[in-house]
């Protein structure tokens, strides 16, 4: 009873604080009773990104006196499963996969968000974000903080301009551009897909973007939900479009064997060598954090970007997004205060300024983004009408973080053909 009462009191205090504050930060508005409490947060990002997250919650810590302890681990999702089974998960987990959230919610391990946080999501986010945080029982569990926009093609600005290249508006123009680059002696694409236990995920991003551009929103949803199997001709078509580029040694720096062994964060650096070894990187907005230091210091002048162009002009260029959602494994007022803080634009300010991060808040001040690039991303994200979440993240784990990663690698290295690849992925889909 006492616990429940204190939650209630905490929630009331929060609502009052949120209502009274207007544009001021929402975190509890100095209610002293949270001071000295601690919230543990677990996530998959480490190093620079972990430091930026700690910086982002510092305003919350200062305002409430709550100590937020972030613990990052590259194998976070596997670790979390062990911790949950052992009964000692972190208070808040930043889950990269909506499937993981649904899994834990159906096991009754998560606590649904209180109404005031859901109301805050409605007020601060564009359409779609609340739905991705909703489990099968119809309750909202997840809060999105930092998100990714994918399908962005980065290039070294100076070389691009010196050679007289222009950003392609259609897929055909892209192919023409690629051939021009080959003729000029540089392979167009920098690609790396190595990522530890998650090796292969950049392949899924490419396929998803091609699918979005060839089958549209409805077809994409059917494919992600499993209604359209991987053996369907529309999926085979997407893989063929991918292999036209990836399977051609001229188009990809180092060829397939180099691609599969090269870290996704290392690969784009080759574009900034002198002379560049390759020119184009199709990645999410977060990839700028992996660029060489001197490039990062001068992003706006050194890096240009265009959206991966449309394949079918009737469908256009949809936006693919992704992101970690914060979910609560415990029910304490300081945890809800933190999650509520994460739904407000203030939670994104410091990280926007630091760069390499993008936030979905409708009311955010774009001037906070330190670079012109980030500003462009945020603008297109906030204004996008056709937004879809990362499909692999929403598929069952056995496919989305299993065969959809591992089988195409075998296709790339030539140890199996396309039919076998798609057949194996389709066969691994849980019945």
């Amino acid at each position: 009873m006492r616990a429940k009462l204190s939650v209630l009191v905490g929630a009331v205090v929060l609502v009052v604080a949120a209502c009274g504050g207007g544009s001021s930060p929402a975190p509890g508005g100095g209610d002293g009773d949270l001071a000295g409490t601690k919230v543990t947060v677990g996530g998959a990002f480490v190093d620079v990104e972990a430091a930026a997250f700690e910086e982002a919650v510092k305003a919350f810590e200062d305002a409430t006196g709550v100590d937020v302890v972030y613990n990052g681990d590259k194998s976070f999702e596997q670790q979390l499963n062990v911790q949950v089974q052992a009964g000692n998960p972190p208070d808040v987990a930043l889950l990269p996969q909506p499937g993981g959230m649904k899994n834990y919610a159906s096991q009754g391990k998560l606590f649904p968000l209180p109404d005031d946080i859901v109301a805050s999501i409605d007020a601060n986010y564009g359409p779609g974000w609340k739905e991705v945080g909703t489990a099968d029982d119809g309750k909202v569990y997840g809060v999105f903080h930092r998100v990714n926009l994918k399908g962005l093609v980065f290039y070294p600005k100076a070389v691009f301009e010196a050679k007289g290249y222009t950003a392609p508006a259609t897929w055909d123009e892209l192919k023409t551009l690629m051939d021009k680059m080959v003729a000029d002696g540089t392979p167009p694409w920098c690609i790396g897909i190595e990522s530890g236990a998650a090796t292969g995920w950049p392949i899924t991003d490419w396929i998803e973007q091609i699918m979005l551009r060839t089958v549209g929103a409805e077809g994409y949803d059917k494919w992600v939900s499993g209604e359209t199997p991987f053996t369907d001709p529309s999926v085979a078509n997407a893989f063929e479009i991918l292999m036209e580029i990836w399977g051609n040694e001229q188009y990809v720096y180092g060829g397939a064997n180099y691609v599969v062994q090269t870290n996704f964060g290392e690969a784009p650096k080759a574009a900034f060598d002198d002379p560049p070894k390759c020119l184009l990187t199709n990645q999410g907005n977060f990839i700028t954090a992996f660029f060489p230091d001197d490039v990062q210091a001068d992003l706006d002048n050194q890096v240009g970007v265009f959206t991966l162009p449309a394949i079918d002009s009737a469908i256009g260029t949809p936006a693919e997004v992704g992101g970690d959602q914060a979910v609560a494994f415990a029910d304490r007022p300081e945890i809800w205060a933190l999650l509520k803080y994460l739904t407000t634009p203030e939670a994104g300010v410091s990280w926007s300024k630091a760069g390499g991060a993008l936030f979905p808040y409708k009311g955010q001040d774009l001037a906070n983004y330190s670079s012109e690039l980030d500003k462009v991303f945020a603008e297109s994200l906030v204004n996008a009408s056709f937004v879809r979440f990362d499909g692999a993240d929403a598929m069952p784990a056995a496919v989305g973080s299993g065969t959809f990663w591992s089988e195409p690698i075998k296709l790339l290295t030539g140890s199996q053909n396309l039919d076998t690849t798609l057949g194996n992925i389709a066969a691994s889909w849980p019945k």
Binding site: E77, Q78, N81, V82, N103, E194, G196, A197, T199, G200, Y253, G254, G255, N257, Y258, V260, Q261, K277, P396, A397, A398, S401, G402, S406, I409, K410, T413, S415, N424, P430
Partner: protein, 370 residues
Amino acid sequence: MYQAVAEPPPPRGVGQVLATSVGRVLVSIFVPVVAFIVLWAGFLFLKDSGAPKAVIVLVAIVWGIGGVAMLYVVANWLTEKLPPAWYGRILPFVFVGPAIAILAFYLLVPAVLTGWGSLFDANGQEFVGLDNYVYSFSNPEMVTAIRNNVLWLVFGTLFSTGLGLAIAVLVERSRLDRLAKTLIFLPMAISFVGASVIWRFVYSFQPEGQPQVGLLNAILGSFGIAPVSWLTSEPLNTILLIVILIWGQTGFAMVIIGAALKGVPDEMLEAGRIDGAGEWQIFRKLIVPTIWPTIVTVATTIAILTLKIYDIVIAMTGGNFNTQVIATLMWKQAFTFFDAGRGSALAVILLVAVTPVIWYNLRQFRGRAI
């Protein structure tokens, strides 16, 4: 034992006898209960306490060591209360019992539960019989993993033990005995993950025309040969991963076998030489049979290691390029795909594969004089 010859107590009244025995029983119950409460309180403190880490560590050490000591003292004290004949009978169990109980709790119970869990579906809800085993032996990924594990078992064990034996025998006669042994033993000090980081640089591949950071490709390059993508060349890549294990384990085999060699009596070897045996004959017919139990122990230890190999594969290739082994697939099923059933089935398969080796090893131990 001297209680047995102690003077019998002077006869007393029935009421007195009853009172003392009731008192004794009460004390005998009271003491273990107090001991249990103390241990439980310690456990609760360790579980929920927000005390500083240093305090928790200190309490854990005192609680752990003190708790075990207390258990022994209390159990011993209890058995001493028993009649002398029973004291002798029960005492061994008092001392061996806790070890067996802990072993059962941490090894036997999980093993049985895993076996039981392998008969259920991904969420452990529905009984599916042997479906998970059928999957394990029919899935092409699994078949490759089993093939790879056999490669690990055969080449890893054979070369680690063989090289260890050869080096131990050859180096024993060298004046650089100690230096050579130290150098070969050094990799033992490196964890497999650490070793893998080192070997990634050996196998590293850069596109042709670029400077080769990888040792092997740099050597090839100096002869004008095009670089090879070692880790993606199947099935050579599995062999290349096994080389890392051999690099790490040869030192272990060498040191153990080397120690056994020192125990081979010189008189026997001399007698052999006087009888006209060649060095090769002495090695094969005298040295090897004498140290055979040691060779078997080393080989079985490495064999078990190869069967449950995991870290090298995960660190080098993540199980891609058809280098996966049973343990990496087990980890994937259980912790990436959240399929408890298939994960358990793979764990059981691993356990069954290791069992004959352990059994053989134990038999060797039993047959040996200590």
